[in-house]
Amino acid sequence: MLAADSRTAALEAFLKQASGARDAAIRGWRRLSGGAVQECWAFEAEMRGGALDGSATLVLRTDAPTALAASRSRAQEFALLRAAFAAGVPVPEPLYCSEDAAVIGRPFFLMRWVSGVADGAAVVRSAEWDARRPKLLTELGRQLAAIHAMPVAANLAFLGEPPTDPAAARLARYREWLLQFDDPHPVAELALRWLARERRAPAQAVLCHGDFRTGNYLATHDGIAAILDWEFADWADPHEDIGWFCSKSWRFGAYDREAGGLGTREAFYRAYEAAGGRLIDPERVHYWEVAASLRWLLLALQQRDRFLKGGERSLDLALTGRRPAECEFEIIRLIDAHARGGA
């Protein structure tokens, strides 16, 4: 991406043209935390005239230097965000998108800033949130049901046709990812074999968020302010989102609060079903939790390779390379629980 000064000038010109403003001034660039896959920057925009007349805090979302497999383009994520916004799902209002590398050096989109806490560890562990977690969990159940009911219009044609067997499609993708690594991963192989053997009758695919978890929403004392990070949205079995949300990886150490580190599965399932979501089959959730641990294992290896092979000297990426053992622990434990009839 361009250096700050050039980026400011280029973006001011872009904003003027996109919003129809007479003038645009940008200041206060700050990189937002999180986002190992994408970069997010907040800034203050002072606009005169046009659609954004006045002062606003905006967020620019752009590609990280190296992308992960299955991560959607910024233009596609922008279209998904617009669809969610139109459907009434709480998301930051999407404003403008550019795929023109001449503007800041990479594709990007702009959205309005939304206040809230994205830090999953804080929401799960801090006493400040103790009394508020049940409400957050209920709202998340409702919001996930709303996401799974989102209409898929023509502007989401890039999603393609829904797969007739979402689990088979997902396993094929994970096999493809696993084959990309130079080193052997027996527990990942074990998970893939188990997932192939235990596959249920195909579920009807719906639009799934793909990364619906604690850490990917903005929480406030009043509830959920926004669902973030739509880059993995895809057709899938709705239980896949639920399994990912309940996966141990996203409980931030509160392992006994099985639904996102916030509360019980039952409370989450009830809220989802009461909001019009499909009837949840706990065995399917168990299946997708094994898949979730496999997915996180594979993503961790992809992040590792950004460090090992991609030249990104990031502490976070390097340490993520040491996390597959956590996923392997969970895969073996979940498969064993199923064999013992505990799923």
Partner: protein, 126 residues
Amino acid sequence: MRDLPSGPELESLAREWEERGIDGLPPKERATAAAMIERCRAIARREAAAGTDALAPIRAALAALYVGDQSKHFAQLAAEIRSGALDAPSARRDRVLALLWSLTLQKLRESNPRFLAAHGYDPGAR
């Protein structure tokens, strides 16, 4: 068999970040970077302390399952699982699962002993 980057690579990265300096970062990012530097070092220390001896029982278990070049046994294990030969319950499958479980616990002792402790395992136990 261990996850990567290796302990020495993590130690080298930690040193690189310290030399580059993190004082110019905003307070929250500085604290996060400092914690990650320490975590790299802690993993490197635990891995060095465990040494190659910690994996000797796993290598021996692999050698009992596969013949030929020892450096290829782990890949042979992955290939056997992929082939489906270990899908059905069998004594061999049980041995493989026990081996993988032991390896996973050892990797966690080095990479994330808190995770093990949170699941009721003594990270110091062998």
